[in-house]
């Protein structure tokens, strides 16, 4: 692992890294759960003492209870602040996770490049961290100012946990500063271990912070621990551990990592484009590759986490579920499909472009066009809407608003099939990339390849079979259930062929050194596209998650009686999200810029007296 490094080792390390991420995630989630459970025992005792006497019902508001300041639209202000806060928070929560992993990889391999890259990542996120806090403060202020009744009601229920949140935030800052400023001090031997422990603590605290904040927002969607009039039972744990809490926790944890990866990827891409020499170019190309790898690894399970969340929303309230998928928000999922397709396509494009780094890639490039055909085809299915926009002549010619061929593509089984195929083929792109610089030396290479092809074919056949059979030939009850075997098939294919691959390429020879930095500039734009599409998509999905509450602050308990209680049109929401995205990108550019300003020295000689 010196110089340009071996490609296979890089990706293997990152796969171990991903495994560690999972462990951290599970430890944090369950460790956090233990912590909460202990806390719960406490609050239950408090609930016993308080009984039902001490709390009032949820406030009933009128339009007059929503103050306006300086002509600012309260909803718009809070929307934008919340969104900006969330983006930064996702970024600063995710970066320490993979910084920690990369640092561990660096320590294990004793390859200083990893350590340097980890340090560069955390440096980027330090300024973002303070921006997160500032935006969180703005969010809090605007909530208190524009929605005082809601805030006071929520603080009756979560007052205590809000206090712990503030304390934790303090702890998070302390650990982060120690971690960052102590980076060069805590190097080598035992000191490195102390530093890694700090990193782990940082992640545990950060994840706990996220879990707490998630509880507040999921309480508003699926209130618990209160009676139908909104009278709090005094049991804070019940309110925190509400129905949608864990689905959101999982979804956000995975999405944050993917998001953090994509933003860091954009950083590397920009540094690549402005690099002054080949060495710098090679470094940032390598960094961009790793960031993109992290983003894709987290992107692959994301549709399933999202599916699980949607299923839980359905299970919690069919009303909310139908508003989410069948009502006016159905069109939002078409926009979402376009964006997710964009993510997949640009991630794939980056991988294909990256094959130029290896001299052995020519053996695989001939397959790329087939992958592209399948990806685009699956993508077209993925975004075909259920309700087609038809002109009158088309309507007459079809004999109704339902298209006999395209109509079935609009419902869930087809979409599930399409997304699983997309994921499988994205993985195939990655597999080709992995192999491009390798020549296997084991005697059974051909047989191994055939088995791998058979595994892929059987997996794809199974996904298609499940999709077609369960989508169109069985009772509707099983339509949705079919997606679970589909997902498991996809995972089996991925894991199975990774294992097989590692055996086939055991002791394999390199074709030649990898030429880091030999990648077209266009590929860097794919990384920008990934970051922008991700940011925008998160904004849009945040809107719908909040929007399905409709005119309720707290669903079925506290009604929103402000003049802004109506649901806006999708176009309006998209415009707000776009403006917020541009604001966010501007701030991110500032963050990146400020991170490199500190290393600049431009003082003319003779300014200070000697």
């Amino acid at each position: 692992m010196k110089g340009t490094g071996s490609l296979r080792n890089v990706s293997n390390k990152l796969i171990y890294g991903l495994f560690i991420t999972l462990v951290i995630g599970l430890v944090s989630v369950f460790g956090g759960a233990d912590l909460f459970a202990a806390y719960a025992a406490g609050t239950e005792a408090a609930a016993d003492a308080a009984s039902t006497g001490g709390y009032g019902p949820a406030p009933v508001t009128t339009a007059a209870d929503y103050p306006s300041y300086a002509g600012v639209n309260g909803r718009l202000a809070i929307w934008i602040f919340a969104q900006l806060h969330l983006w930064f928070a996702a970024f600063v929560l995710a970066v320490p996770i993979f910084v920690f992993i990369i640092e561990v990889i660096g320590m294990r391999t004793r390859d200083k490049r990893y350590d340097d890259m980890a340090y560069e990542f955390i440096k980027v996120s330090i300024t973002a961290y303070s921006l997160t806090a500032i935006l969180g403060g703005l969010l809090l202020f605007s909530l208190i100012l524009f929605y005082p009744d809601l805030f006071s009601y929520l603080s009756v229920i979560f007052g205590e946990s809000m206090f712990y949140y503030a304390l934790l935030f303090f702890g998070e800052s302390a650990v982060l500063y120690l971690y960052y400023y102590g980076w060069h001090w805590l190097q080598g031997g035992l000191k490195k271990w102390i530093h890694l422990t700090l990193g782990l603590t940082l992640n545990a605290v950060g994840t706990t912070l996220m879990l707490l904040a998630n509880a507040w927002l999921t309480f508003m969607m699926s209130p618990a621990g209160v009676d139908p009039a909104g009278v709090f039972s005094g049991d804070t744990w019940a309110a925190i551990h509400n129905f949608l809490w864990n689905p959101i926790n999982i979804h956000r944890f995975v999405a944050n990592i993917a998001y953090g990866g994509s933003i860091v990827g954009a950083y590397a891409a920009f540094k690549f484009l402005t690099a002054r020499n080949d060495q710098e170019k090679a470094h940032y190309d390598w960094m961009g590759y790793n960031a993109n790898f992290i983003a894709i690894c987290a992107l692959l399970p994301l549709p399933f986490a999202g599916y699980y969340l949607a299923a839980e929303i359905y299970a919690y309230s069919q009303q909310m579920g139908i508003t989410l998928m069948g009502g006016i928000f159905a069109w939002l999922f078409i926009i979402q499909a376009v964006l997710i397709g964009t993510l997949f396509l640009s991630a794939n494009y980056y991988l294909w472009c990256g094959m130029g780094r290896s001299d052995g890639a020519k053996r695989y490039t001939k397959y790329i066009k087939y992958i592209a055909i399948v990806l685009v085809g699956a993508f077209l299915v993925w975004f075909t809407p259920h309700t087609l926009v038809l002109t009158n002549s088309e309507l007459k010619s079809l004999g109704g608003p339902h298209h006999s061929i395209l109509g079935p593509l609009g419902i869930m089984p087809a979409k599930n099939t399409a997304v699983n195929i997309m994921i499988t083929f994205t993985f195939l792109s990655f597999l080709f990339y992995r192999r491009s610089n390798k020549v296997a030396t084991v005697s059974w290479e051909k047989t191994g390849n055939i088995i791998q092809v058979a595994l892929f074919s059987a997996g794809i056949v199974n996904i298609l079979f499940l999709g077609i059979y369960h989508g169109y030939f069985t009772n509707t009850v099983y339509k949705v259930a079919a997606s679970i075997p589909q997902v498991m098939t996809t995972f089996t294919v991925i894991v199975g062929s990774l294992i097989l691959d590692s055996f086939i390429y055991r002791g394999a020879k390199d074709v030649g050194p990898l030429h880091w930095g030999r990648i077209p500039d266009r590929a860097q734009y794919a990384l920008f596209l990934l970051a922008v599409a991700f940011t925008w998509l998160m904004g849009l999905m945040g809107y719908i998650r909040s929007g399905i509450r409709q005119h309720w602050h707290v669903v079925d308990i506290m009604r929103d009686n402000s003049p802004d209680a109506y649901t806006p049109t999708l176009g309006y929401a998209a415009n707000v999200v776009s403006i917020a995205t541009i604001m966010f990108l501007a701030m991110v550019i500032f963050v990146f810029w400020i991170a490199q300003v500190s290393t600049k020295k431009s003082l003319p000689a003779g300014y200070w007296k000697e």
Partner: protein, 259 residues
């Protein structure tokens, strides 16, 4: 002879475009909506661009004719023609888009609007979330009785519904031609197979006028059947609809249980 890459890319795009039209409009006889085709082509173009440009050499080959056309002094004639044609094409596009036509504007209806949690049916507030078909349990308990109810439902259907929804339940009844929106095709996998029985009950009893505002434009000519039929007749018709089409109503309980 090798086809130049720029021509290859163009041929692929043109081929896919007309391929869609030929396959859907002529072979399958189910027109592909032009709005959808436009979106399809956007992403097909993106895909073609990706395949043709991921490699630096291929990219150069692809761009070479364009570069030559713009920069090479000997290609002056072509350049002038192209630079004249492109603005003209854009101009025609704008003209075509803004020119008023005699077609009715494109309207979009939400075919399955979200149901309210309760609805007033037969003067009674019913909870649509828990409402069940009172005859459904006969399907397993007493199949003969069930078949009888389906039969009765069929009679009600033929007397009242088939004029629009068709005797094959395919939405092509004798009056269907005159209606816009056209009557629903129950055979379609995207209609009743996606819905619970309580949803059908709500839509049949309250009809077009009972549609929520989001289902606008509010022009469905479905009558308010609670004014003409009894509660039992409607439940039996629902049994018939599922029985005849072979679909099964969606049920949340079972879907959750199988998770």
């Amino acid at each position: 002879m090798r086809i130049p890459r720029l021509l290859q890319a163009t041929l692929v795009l043109v081929g896919v475009y007309f391929g869609f039209i030929v396959v859907f409009d002529y072979i399958l006889e189910a027109v592909i909506p032009r709005s959808l085709l436009t979106m399809y082509m956007f992403f097909v173009t993106a895909g073609v661009f990706m395949v043709f440009t991921y490699d630096e050499d291929q990219m150069r080959e692809l761009a070479a004719p364009i570069k030559a056309m713009v920069e090479d002094p000997s290609k002056r004639g072509v350049r002038n023609v192209v630079f004249l044609l492109i603005p003209l094409l854009v101009g025609y596009g704008v003209y075509d888009k803004t020119m008023p036509s005699f077609d009715a504007p494109v309207e979009l209806r939400t075919i399955h609007p979200a149901p309210p949690s309760t609805a007033k049916i037969y003067g009674e507030r019913v909870n649509l979330l828990t409402l069940e078909n009172p005859f459904r349990h006969y399907e397993t308990e007493d199949p003969e009785q069930f078949a009888e109810y389906v039969e009765e439902g069929a009679a009600v259907y033929i007397e009242n519904c088939q004029y629009c929804h068709g005797d094959k339940l395919d939405g092509k009844g004798p009056y269907a031609e005159g209606l816009n929106p056209t009557p629903l095709n129950f055979q379609d996998i995207g209609t009743i197979a996606q819905l619970q029985e309580s949803y059908l009950y709500w839509r049949i009893t309250t009809g077009g006028p009972g549609l929520p505002k989001e289902a606008a434009p509010w022009i469905s000519s479905m009558p308010v059947w609670q004014n003409f039929l009894t509660e039992e007749e409607i439940w039996k018709v629902i049994l018939f609809l599922y029985d005849y089409t072979g679909h099964a109503p969606r049920s949340w309980g079972a879907a959750n249980a199988s998770h």
